[in-house]
């Protein structure tokens, strides 16, 4: 009796788990097959039907020639805008976060805990509350609608998270290590460079992935602080989907959406473990 029950239970568990897996995969599948059909086939067929012929023209149009508002150069220029924003912003915010975390965990001074608390709060503020003054500051610095300005914004609001990551990682390392190294005459930077950096690879990976995903996927800062030539890919994608010159081209929309999602998806597939670690560290603790 109990074995029948058990087997029933197992079947139920697997059915549910696999059923949900299919539901979670469905949107990606629909995007992919839609992007490979032509408009005729989209109109006559249905969402989940496989394409009759593989047709990559929607992909090349999304990349090269689709209209995003008044420009019709496809997503390519905006993809590279995003790359130009993401690389310096991730590097700077990670390096600054590492130094900050090192200080806050191992070189505490009077008020450093308060400072950390004040910084932690920044992980939570709704950015709407800083949008207007930041726009003024960027305009005043002459950085409105520039890549440099966007990088700056991402760095400033990213270091709250990166500092948190590194601080929580370094705080687990016993203080005696620093004390012993100082007795041996090593200084602030030497200890960081020779002792802390070599054991920091995992937290660097977590932080870089977290920042890369956050900044690549950002839409709010992109839409508010970028201009016609500097828009990141998320903003361009939204413009592309909402530009309807001569009828909706769902296949191009879907190809464009996949292109926009590809970099972060690849990172997730390659380094999923670190991705999850960043999520839980950033979310639960922060």
């Amino acid at each position: 009796m109990s074995t029948i029950n058990q087997r029933l239970g197992r079947t139920l568990i697997y059915t549910l788990l696999i059923g949900f897996a299919l539901i979670y995969l469905a949107p990606l599948y629909v995007m992919l097959v839609t992007s490979l059909k032509d408009i005729e086939e989209i109109r006559s067929g249905n969402l989940i039907a496989l394409p009759e012929h593989l047709n990559f023209s929607a992909w090349s149009k999304a990349w090269n020639s689709a209209c995003t508002g008044s420009e019709c150069e496809g997503l390519a220029p905006y993809f590279w805008n995003s790359v130009r924003i993401v690389i310096p912003a991730v590097m700077l915010s990670t390096i600054i976060g590492a130094c900050n975390g090192y200080v806050l965990a191992q070189w505490q001074f009077k008020g450093s805990n308060m400072l950390f608390g004040a910084l932690l709060f920044g992980c939570f503020i709704p950015f709407q509350v800083i949008l207007l003054p930041m726009a003024k500051l960027l305009a005043w610095l002459g950085l409105a609608n520039t890549v440099v300005g966007l990088v700056g914004v991402h760095v400033v609001y990213g270091i709250t998270f990166t500092t948190l990551f590194f601080r929580n990682y370094y705080v687990a390392i016993p203080n005696e290590l620093v004390r012993a190294a100082r007795l041996d005459g090593a200084g602030f930077f030497a200890i960081f460079w020779r002792i802390f950096l070599p054991m920091s690879t995992p937290i660097f990976v977590v932080t870089v992935i977290w920042q890369f995903t956050q900044i690549w996927n950002d839409f709010l800062f992109g839409v508010v602080y970028s201009g016609p030539g500097t828009q990141p890919i998320t903003v361009a994608l939204n413009n592309l989907v909402n530009t309807s010159v001569g009828g909706k081209e769902y296949n191009v929309d879907m190809a464009a959406a996949i292109i926009a999602a590809l970099p972060t998806l690849l990172v997730y597939l390659v380094a999923g473990k670190y991705f999850v670690r960043g999520l839980t560290a950033g979310a639960v603790k922060g």
């Binding site: 969402l47 070189w107 001074f109 709704p126 207007l132 270091i159 839409f219 939204n238 999923g272």
Partner: protein
């Protein structure tokens, strides 16, 4: 002299961050709060008029719709995500095969931007060629599914897409929590004759309290900040039926040149976040000290 500098190094390293934080976070928040008490429209101006902007804000039907939507969205988003996340985590925790692959599948939407999610679901849910047509092709020729263009239902499409994106993450949080539970406890309960259901309900779920708490904080935080998903999926429409506060703020501050109203709405959003955050941080800090 050198020694002195050396001792000041930690502070020097922290200084740029501290300055950036005080200017770009606390300074800017003060600036926005200040602005919300002025009658600024196109440009900031600093003659104080008291609560006029807040009165205007709460007399604005669009803001009231956005607030109502926020409650609906936040409540459903949290409840459904918690339920799905917990269910998937419990099942995954029961020694299933291919656990890693399943986990990867449940969690991948979290790597995608809300703009992509919105674009995908906009296509899936579109009334002409989306799910509606799929079900009709299966033989149910009267089937209607027009939530995306229905004033009363549009907000629920945002719930669907947001749950799809975030429930896998809740699953990961619960799974981590379940893995942290001491196995001997469960075994002891089962030796005492407790059924699996009872073990979960009376022993395991109560131990998951911190995870519930953490997940609710994270999810409500995502909900209040939600902006890109609405922008990409419904554009706030039809009309402004699916606006959330973040979209209201953006529209009024940047497209409508109503800075004062925009600032006031941002301040209300901040208050919302604080209302959730302060009790949470308070309890976290207290448990840290114990």
């Amino acid at each position: 002299m050198f020694k002195y500098l050396e001792n000041q190094l930690p502070k020097l390293v922290m200084a740029p961050t501290a300055i950036a934080m005080f200017v770009c976070m606390y300074g800017f928040i003060a600036w926005t709060v200040g602005l919300s008490f002025t009658k600024s429209r196109m440009m900031p101006q600093w003659d104080f008029v008291g609560l006029v902007q807040y009165e205007k804000l709460f007399a604005n039907p669009r803001w009231m719709v956005a607030l109502d939507n926020l409650w609906i969205f936040t409540f459903l988003f949290i409840v459904i995500s918690l339920f799905l996340g917990l269910m998937l985590a419990i099942f995954l925790d029961r020694n299933v095969r291919a656990e890693g692959a399943l986990r990867t599948i449940y969690l991948y939407p979290m790597a995608i931007s809300f703009v992509v999610t919105g674009t995908a679901w906009k296509w899936i849910l579109n009334p002409g060629l989306g799910i509606e047509k799929l079900v009709r092709d299966l033989g149910f020729s009267d089937f209607e599914f027009r939530w995306l263009v229905d004033q009363d239902m549009a907000i629920y499409t945002i719930v669907i897409a947001a749950v799809w994106q975030s429930s896998g993450f809740v699953m990961a949080m619960f799974l981590a929590g379940l893995r942290g539970i001491d196995d001997s406890l469960i075994k002891a309960a089962q030796i005492d004759g407790a059924s699996t259901m009872r073990t979960y309900w009376h022993i395991i779920l109560p131990m998951m309290k911190p995870v519930f708490f953490g997940a609710i904080v994270v999810l409500s935080h995502i909900a209040i900040k939600s902006f890109d998903l609405v922008q990409a999926l419904t554009g706030g429409g039809p009309g402004y039926a699916s606006d959330l506060p973040a979209n209201f703020m953006y529209t009024f501050a940047f497209s409508r040149a109503q800075m004062g109203v925009g600032a006031a709405s941002a301040v209300i959003m901040l208050c919302g976040v604080l209302a959730i955050l302060v009790p949470y941080l308070y309890s976290e800090l207290r448990s840290d000290k114990q």
